[in-house]
Symmetry: D3
Subunit: 166 residues, 6 copies
């Protein structure tokens, strides 16, 4: 069975990794939402960079079969689920705790499964970006290969700069 996970992955963190382990019996499709957004504090990384982060995480977790698909926003919730469906490999159910995502995919006839969350206090994109901006330790909240990738592309410095001008 294939499962769709929609996120912005800014960055991919241990909350996502927890989810991957929990659904390891399934083939996972990662839909990278807001794919055209980048260079803002909310969305610092390009879709291409987020693609690599997820890929690195899968290597680290030794996941063999998975799909990564950048999905641009279309700003029309009424057709959003169809828009995603058009761009990604076919899937059997959706994994999401986001009430809007849930509503939109249920309306299209999909099953949506909620999950418990892992260390929700810290494992959130905005918390991690804030820690990076404040020079606090953040590396323990993401897979190590993701941390390395972020450092390699100068992601810390980028986030610090972006945190000042938005």
């Amino acid at each position: 069975m294939r499962a769709l996970i929609i996120g912005r992955f800014q960055p991919f963190h241990n909350g996502h990794a927890f989810l991957v382990k929990k659904f390891k019996e399934n083939e996972l499709i990662f839909a990278i939402g807001s794919a055209y957004e980048s260079y803002t504090f909310e969305n610092p990384f390009t879709a291409g960079e987020r693609y690599e982060m997820i890929y690195e995480a899968m290597l680290e977790m030794q996941i063999k079969k998975f799909f990564i698909v950048p999905v641009p926003d279309i700003n029309r919730y009424g057709v959003y689920a169809k828009h995603v469906e058009d761009l990604v490999p076919s899937f059997d159910f959706v994994i999401s705790n986001n009430k809007l995502i849930k509503e939109l995919f249920i309306r299209e006839g999909y099953e949506v499964r909620e999950t418990e969350l892992f260390n929700r206090k810290e494992c959130q994109g905005k918390v991690i970006r804030r820690k990076i901006a404040n020079n606090e330790p953040w590396e323990h909240l993401v897979p190590s290969r993701v941390a390395n990738f972020i450092k390699k592309i100068g992601g810390e410095e980028r986030i610090r700069k972006l945190s000042n001008f938005f």
Copy 2:
């Protein structure tokens, strides 16, 4: 070294497979062009379906590391190379015989490598679509897992219908 291949993959065929073998020392990124196009004779398959075809071909060819990225058209050649760069993992060179693609990426400072072509007479998307439309044998022109996938999703019938109304 990572190499970018841009195509529409309507469908993925043995010409593409030949290329993959030729560059098997490289990590390949497949950019699926015209990702929003589907259900026309020129572009019968959705981006999601084309993603699966390429994935199936990589399985068959036992390629372990590769990246697949749907890329919507933006209809502005002046910024197209940047648009692709924004959506895909970083790459070192481009593989293309298309003179426009070549021009656009060289202009951005990329190396573009041309390649010899494999059975160009038959291994072209439009030739294969035409064969399918005409009920001629076509399966030998694509990897078997791709042929199976196309049959499974009713692709032959779809192409036959589409060939009549465009």
Copy 3:
């Protein structure tokens, strides 16, 4: 004489109905603004659903001749009036108290008539949506056929859900 009324109609309420009665000598064109928006607390209903609401209200009010036209946003006020003009039947004047709408249509040479408002404290889309979200009585603020339609399509539950995640 034909009059244009621009609104988002989320939902059509008695304030709108009051206006319709006041201008009952005129043929009315209802332009449904932000037609591509839906499934947000601000814009819970699709353009198609809003179309039906207005239609139901007209039935209830026994209005015979009227026009309903969904109008997508274009996010360019400098050409907005022209954009509307392009999509709707020709009209003689605009009914609006919105200062921006007024400015934009006067600039295009149209007469814009302001009107007194009916029970402005309650008869506003956002007040009604808030009441629905809070499980307070709201049905008396819209024509009964509109209330029935909203219930039939599960609109109350949808608004309640949407009020939680925006």
Copy 4:
């Protein structure tokens, strides 16, 4: 039961009128396709003008309940049916002989009914536009109120001009 008819209505003609009569037991929704197109020989009339034409025809045919909805193109067949669904009142089946429209709505789970055609040789938009361009009689091919409307807005002269520069 409600039926959806998708057309460009450039102009509304007796072929459309025939269809309306044939399905007179149903409430009809007219989706005006390519709503943003106008002032070309292929699409001479604005969406607003086409809206009025259909309205005039309904008056002439004494149809009481019907819906008219301009629908902009989105150039993505993979989500087109959903896009239409989002903008129009809910419907039970689609009336169409267009193979692509048929394919797209069947895929979304809708029933699509084909119909015999009325005087297909002459009752086609492009044939009528060509007649107008050539100063041949055309008025007998459309409802009289439609012919009057076209004349009133200078439609004949517009089509003649447009036929020269495309």
Copy 5:
């Protein structure tokens, strides 16, 4: 009095120069149409490059006061004139022999003046591009500073390449 000239200026040629001389009593606004198009045989130069060509031509012709404005296509003739009006300085009349441009601006209430043409056989963008592609002399058909600019940016070679793959 200010006059608007809409063209694609691919490239600016002596036909344009002739027009400039003829209307030298007027302040001219050059609207560069299809501003987002480039790197095709039909539109080889970017808007920025076309801006410079016009600027160079004005220097050569010693015109002191003029305005150059890139105008992206919007693919909606019904609002096109307004779109242009929104982007350019205010103007009093339009200079055009193009019947569609004429129709669209007259409809907005503008005066449109037609002009005789200069050496129409050769002074057309496509004729000049074709000459460049065929290695025939073309420099005499454009102002010398425009010819120099085209050579400096490698425009001849670009056009030759583009002529082969479209």
Copy 6:
């Protein structure tokens, strides 16, 4: 050497004029950002009006060679620098204190020069718009020809109206 200045110029003010003087050895390109925005308090003037303001200022400052280019937003920072580059004449460096603009152009390989600012307390678009809205003196903060232009087009009244409904 040519320098690019990106601003919204709502309106052009003495802070911009200060910059122009400081870089008077250079040819300046003014990129009018958010070119499609107008008739909001944040962006009251159309791109065409802003074009004229800059032009008037250049006349007053007796600058002979300069370029003005309206640039629509594309809402993709990842390709924004390329988008600007595509629309404006070629340039050698960028003048900007905006950290995001700086980041985006440095990433494309451009030099970005910061500058001291002139009377930053008052010489800001929003401060000037606020003064106009409040009927406070503002004319001394912009070149006189710009003040005259704003008055001539009714800009003060427009800003006052817009300040009330946003």
